[in-house]
């Protein structure tokens, strides 16, 4: 999707940017210098989220802070829509770039509305326009302006503070947002929700976003593009999440994304990406002979019992269908796992592996059965679009599963449990 119709996004280009800290004199007790950056060149297209990910001290935050010149590069330039950021007035530059940090940094002495209107106030908007904008942004991030506008930051939950931080960064509709671990300080459940909300917001806003995280899962989820940094401030790989997971460019990247990168790729695809396959369905009272015929004609041997509104009730196993008579609801003993178009394949697979019958039913908003999903369907989709060499982890036999012949559900199940047993792996 291009950023075409959106007025507000800019191209950010790092052109041989280097930051060295070897000449910095350090007083004892002072914070260690941030990570150096070594000859960084990459281009973030307008309207895309580019995630900078890597272990700590690898220069990702330094790279981010060089865009709004909180840190000045030792050499090289950063171009914003072709203009060297180093030649712009630093105050004006910063006011034109949204900035969100992990600890949020809301002003404790100002109300939520005043916090949100920070940059509008700095650039001299009228009081009414500031208030209007604050209300608009609070509504956008899902906080009722009447209820939250007059509160102080201390009266918000962690998740609410993070959202206000995002709203504040959006206040003057900047073409670029810099986000430094913006969801790092909240618990995993809130983080997941904030990530989803932000992705929905970005669909409308289409800003150019540089997003720093040390969490590869967050990088894969949030990024249109991902730059994997390694120690010494070098980019080990720059590409789409799918590319990075399918074809890690080096052993470092393979190790960093984790041995479970195949499973991580599953998180990038959704049930809606699979071809629709209507299940063989029957209703209570249907003729058994007819139902048998339908089951035999279908690639999946189970019959789906549905109600009058086509809502799934349960599976009828092939051996539970009598020779003649009618279908009864007691024949269905196993309830199928239910997913929808937005469910990730990772979640769908996990649900199916847990179920007695390893197939799921995708439903629409009304609860009507739409499509049948099997473990084999998921595996087939994963095999498409996988090219090039793969880097194995030392002593890792799982890579063999990538060779010819699709792995069966059993093999994937085995890989899942092997993964679970390996959670102690130092990934970052």
């Amino acid at each position: 999707m291009s950023a075409g119709p959106h007025r507000s996004a800019a191209v950010v280009e790092f052109d041989h940017v280097t930051k060295r800290y070897d000449n910095v004199e350090r007083r004892p007790g002072s914070a260690p210098p941030p990570g150096a950056v070594n000859d960084l060149s990459l281009t973030v297209p307008a309207g895309k989220i580019c995630v900078l990910v890597g272990p700590s001290g690898c220069g990702k935050t330094t790279s981010l802070k060089m865009v709004n010149r909180l840190i000045e590069p030792t050499s090289g330039k950063i171009l914003i829509d072709g203009v060297d950021a180093g030649t712009r007035d630093v105050t004006e530059l910063r006011r034109s770039i949204g900035y969100v940090i992990q600890q949020v940094g809301l002003f404790p002495h100002q109300t939520v509305a005043e916090n949100v209107a920070t940059v509008p106030r700095l650039v001299g908007w009228s009081k009414e326009r500031q208030n209007e904008r604050a209300d608009e942004l609070l509504a956008l991030i899902g906080l009722d302006p009447a209820k939250y506008g007059k509160r102080f930051p201390a009266q918000l939950s962690g998740g609410e503070r993070q959202r206000v931080g995002v709203a504040r960064a959006l206040a003057v509709d900047p073409p670029i947002m810099l986000m430094d671990e913006p969801f790092g300080a909240v618990d995993p459940i809130v983080r997941d929700r904030l990530q989803n909300e932000f992705l929905r917001l970005q669909e409308e806003l289409a800003k150019t976003i540089l997003f720093v995280t040390h969490d590869i899962d967050e990088a894969i989820k949030m990024g249109d593009l991902v730059a994997v940094f390694q120690e010494g401030g070098k980019v080990a790989q720059f590409g789409t999440p799918t590319e990075i997971l399918a074809n890690p460019a080096s052993e470092f990247v393979a190790r960093f994304v984790g041995a479970d990168r195949g499973l991580k790729r599953l998180a990038l695809s959704r049930v809606g990406d699979l071809p629709i396959l209507a299940p063989a369905s029957v209703k209570v009272g249907d003729d058994v002979a007819d139902a048998r015929k339908r089951a035999a004609a279908h690639s999946f041997p189970y019959l789906l019992l549905v109600d009058a509104a086509q809502r799934p009730l349960g599976w009828i196993a092939p051996d539970r269908i009598p020779a003649s008579g009618r279908i009864y609801d007691t024949m269905a003993d196993v309830v199928p796992p239910i997913v929808n178009r937005r469910t990730t394949l990772k979640d769908a697979l996990s649900i199916m592996l847990d179920a007695d019958v390893q197939a799921a039913i995708s439903i629409d908003r009304a609860g009507t059965a739409q499509s049948l999903i099997t473990v084999d369907d998921v595996v087939r989709l994963m095999r498409e679009g996988q090219h090039g060499p793969t880097f194995g982890i030392e002593g890792d036999e799982d890579a063999a599963a990538d060779s010819a012949g699709g792995p069966s559900a059993d093999e994937i199940g085995a890989a899942v449990s092997a993964e679970a047993a390996r959670t102690g792996d130092p990934v970052d």
């Binding site: 006011r95 940090i101 949020v104 009266q155």
Partner: protein, 222 residues
């Protein structure tokens, strides 16, 4: 004078005008040093935040100034400024610095690093950041310092009476009471100083609450 009472209430009733004048003088002897001391210590505190290494010598200096007895300071300044208000104000001002510098620095240092970084990243100039972020957030600790300095100065200011009658403040009652063996005046001077200190402290607490509604929100959460 047989049967002299400890407190001669009728004398007090006859001299309410005097008491008011002396109280106002005492306020003058307190407020001028506090205002001057606050301005000086604020400048010094901002300097400390920019140049942390000056803090140690600075606190040593303000501590040293505090140890100079007021009588000695008056004796030293009298040849220059005479028996004037200025001679009284200078040592009273320098005494406030010990408390005010320390609290103003603590106030500025209490501003969280993430708040400073966010402000800088959003395009506050240094002056804007100081005025709109650092100073407002330093207010609670600054006022704590001012309260302490006010109470201290009200006590110290009684000594100024030895310099002159025209600005002597409540200390004048104490000195005169001592000279004329009239306990009512001594007790009056002392009691009025204590009352003044209590009232000032109470009013400053009110000012702090008025200036920092956000601090109450924070306290309620903690």
């Amino acid at each position: 004078m047989e049967g002299q009472q400890l407190i001669d209430w009728s004398w007090i009733g006859d001299h309410l005008d005097d008491i008011l004048v002396r109280t106002l003088q005492h306020l003058e002897l307190t407020i001028i040093p506090i205002v001057l001391g606050f301005i000086i210590s604020l400048i010094l505190a901002v300097w400390v935040t920019r140049q942390p290494r000056v803090y140690a010598p600075l606190t040593a200096t303000t501590g040293l100034l505090y140890t100079i007895p007021s009588i000695a300071a008056f004796a030293f300044l009298r040849p220059i400024f005479g028996l004037s208000l200025i001679t009284a104000i200078i040592p009273l001002t320098t005494y406030t610095l010990l408390i005010l510098v320390r609290n103003n620095v603590a106030g500025l240092q209490s501003v969280p690093a993430d708040v400073l970084e966010a402000a800088e990243g959003m395009g506050y100039t240094r002056a804007q950041r100081l005025r709109r972020v650092e100073l407002p957030l330093a207010v609670p600790l600054m006022i704590t310092g001012i309260r302490l300095a006010v109470v201290t100065t009200i006590g110290l200011a009684t000594v100024a009476s030895i310099l002159g009658d025209s600005f002597g403040g409540l200390g004048q009652f104490i000195t005169e009471g001592l000279q004329t063996f009239f306990p009512t005046k001594m007790i009056l001077g002392g009691a009025m100083s204590v009352i003044l200190a209590f009232v000032s402290d109470f009013l400053l607490i009110r000012v702090e609450h008025r200036l920092t509604p956000w601090a109450a929100a924070r306290a309620a959460r903690a």
